[in-house]
Symmetry: C2
Subunit: 450 residues, 2 copies
């Protein structure tokens, strides 16, 4: 089951059980974070506990290993480790990583681990847990490097030297006695300046900061667009902590997953390795929604059973009208949703985007409508059938462009995720309208079709 080419797992197990600590550490050092996570998942509890205890001495490696464990599999690892070892691992992680671990436990387990973690750490973590999920406060590291504006560069460098291993050293923040954030400078600038210079002389006074209640997506956007390594989190100007770029990368990846999942009709926590019953429960509500939209399309077709009975070849072309409509609608939907996420709509506007998509949709419609019309004419020898299907396709691709643009923009205006159920809703519209126009036109012109 366990695939790792870099070390021999039975040998590692032997070393963990009886070998000298240096050997174990050297063997662990050869494994990447994913492999270490797999090892923790697969080995029996005593060995998993021993490995985490070794990793507690190597903060970066422990952090990477814990991060590499998918959320959905964490309960398994937690069970292997037991609460005492978990509490010890929390103390060896940055506070934001520790909070993320805690949130994967159930309420009671959380409280017990927090108690085992000791008073100081427990208090600190309980404070962070109070911020809303997906807020800047939840992601921040409450440890940071700060000096007073009256400090000299030499004093600031001494502060850097004394900082613990858990303090991010990307920037040095300049903070008044009352906690107000008044400036920022980088370690690079500090090293380059003369020792006697006042920090206030080299600091950047216009600090880009985010509020503690700001959404994680906004935080990620600020860090990536402003090219920062960390962004300070403030409450009414008071510095509370920093969100660092490694967290931002995680947020950006989660947001991309969310967009793709929402479009396809999937929920968080339904992953490749989730147990089947979990995936089933997460998917069923979406499948039920899709069932209802499909039956809506069936009802529309049902209205025209009499028409189809007169000319069965109409049934043959139904999948073409629906297939082309669904695909072009989803193309538009994807362009708009990705455009919203990447902030590209700044370079266009909702209305301009709508007009453009409608122009493209009608153009694609004219081309595909002509081709399908000709195919129908040549295949079935019925020119009028070709005309009806061609017109239905043009009309349907106009609708596809319209709904593919309007649905995400409307969801966004309503404060919802623009991708929510996108594909299901767009396909519903193109199915319903496609059948309505195709079979409706056929009914109107039945006289010429026969």
């Amino acid at each position: 089951m366990l695939r790792t080419s870099r070390i021999d797992v039975p040998l590692l197990r032997k070393a963990v059980r009886a070998g000298p600590p240096t050997l174990v550490r050297r063997m662990l050092g050869k494994l990447g974070p994913t492999e270490l996570a797999l090892v923790l998942l697969e080995l029996p509890p005593p060995e998993a506990k021993a490995i985490v205890t070794h990793l507690c001495a190597d903060r970066p490696r422990l952090t990477l290993t814990i991060r590499a464990i998918p959320d959905e599999l964490f309960a398994g690892v937690a069970a292997q480790l037991g609460e005492a070892v978990l509490a010890r691992a929390l103390g060896a992680l940055d506070a934001d990583d520790a909070v993320r671990v805690l949130l994967l436990l159930d309420e009671q387990e959380q409280q017990r681990v927090l108690t085992l973690a000791g008073d100081d750490l427990g208090l600190q973590l309980r404070r962070l847990l109070r911020y809303a999920p997906e807020s800047a406060g939840r992601h921040m590291n409450p440890r940071f490097l700060a000096v007073s504006p009256q400090a000299t560069v030499g004093e600031a460098i001494r502060a850097v030297r004394q900082a613990g291993a858990d303090v991010p050293l990307f920037y040095l923040y300049v903070v008044e006695d009352d906690g107000q954030l008044v400036g920022v400078t980088s370690l690079g600038k500090l090293v380059k300046a003369a020792d006697a210079t006042l920090v206030s002389k080299i600091m950047e006074p216009d600090v880009i900061a985010v509020a503690a209640h700001a959404d994680q997506e906004e935080v990620a956007r600020v860090v990536s667009q402003r090219n920062l390594l960390a962004v300070p989190v403030v409450d009414e100007g008071r510095l509370l902590g920093v969100v660092t770029i490694d967290d931002v990368i995680g947020v950006l990846e989660r947001e991309a997953t969310e967009d793709m999942y929402n479009m396809a009709g999937l929920s968080e926590g339904d992953r490749v390795f989730s147990p089947p019953h979990r995936s089933l429960l997460k998917r069923l509500p979406w499948n039920m929604l899709n069932l209802v939209t499909s039956i809506l399309a069936a009802i529309v077709v049902g209205l025209f059973e009499h028409t189809i009975a007169q000319l069965v070849v109409l049934a043959t072309f139904m999948p073409v009208v629906a297939g082309i409509g669904g695909n072009t609608g989803n193309q538009t939907l994807t362009v708009i949703i990705r455009g919203i996420t990447l902030g590209e709509l700044e370079f266009s506007s909702g209305l301009r985007a709508l007009l453009k998509e409608v122009m493209v949709g009608i153009s694609v419609g004219i081309i595909l409508g002509t081709v399908v019309g000709l195919v129908a004419f040549v295949w079935k020898g019925n020119a009028m059938l070709g005309l009806v299907i061609g017109c239905a396709i043009i009309a349907n691709l106009f609708v596809a462009a319209l709904v593919g643009t309007a649905i995400p923009l409307t969801l966004k205006r309503l404060g919802l995720d623009p991708a929510l159920g996108g594909s299901i809703l767009v396909t519903m519209c193109t199915d319903v309208f496609g059948f309505l126009s195709f079979l409706g036109l056929a009914t109107l012109f039945m006289h010429y079709l026969l």
Copy 2:
């Protein structure tokens, strides 16, 4: 057209034309990168030129502004600026950003701008251009901070002090005289160590590095999973440059866009703000593919025209069979594609993932098949019709799970992008098999259906 709340654009234009430089810089300082990019796109050439000339003195802001201009709109900005101002801007950017700008110009323009940029810069950029697109070499900054293993910490700190503004200061690399990379240390560790210590004593000798020809996706994966701020690029152990985390965020965002685009049948360079004719040309090949797959589905239905003529209600339920199959197939496809991109398949295996998806697919099939069967029975009063449609849905969702998993895994094994055309291919399979099983079963049991 230009929406910015933070400054008055007519006032900015007036300042650019006649105001003092300090006023212009203060006004520009109030704008975010997206707003500055919009300003460059919208203002007449002389004013755009003047603004870029001002920005050349503010490297970070110039970099952010250039990055904020979407690739597809860059030609417009380049035309505003003219080659001389462009060449000057190149000199004020990091080499990797300069290369990215050059690649947005056509061949001839590229050569002219490189000539205008001067011998040193021209040579350096021409060297980077030789690396393959999407390779580590193309993304690297050829400037880095390096010292010999015999240097002391004090000497290393002096090297940091003398480094130019264009040298990334995340890590200090330790390099032998022949260019071999032998170690790495951080600025933080340097500041914390005593001046007389040898750099070789505090350096980390196991350097995580990437080859110059490595794919950008691999580079991004290494930086994000190993929690680095920069990764050294080497050729046979010799240090050539560094890829920094800001580039990695860009790569991760482009890869997410690529996955979503490939799934929906979209090509790069088809964005919200692309002109309609460009989007049309990019989408048509995909639409043509979709046209062919839709006609395949139509051919299958065409085989059963006789059956449908006997029982028109079959046509009514065709959209339900196709709709449910397409949606569940795309759910599976999305889970697998995202799983591949995020490396989650390490926690499962291809076969295990396939078995799981098939189990989920059959379970969803049994539930939805039963519901649709009952709906058909109640609506049309035909129990046998309910049975046939129920069985067809179960069989189709088995196929949906199979192809939703197998298509991306096969594409990956073939060395192609696992998302390529995914949605179109999966929908083709579920349409074709769905109609085949539904209408085929109906033909077999027609005797009982009537």
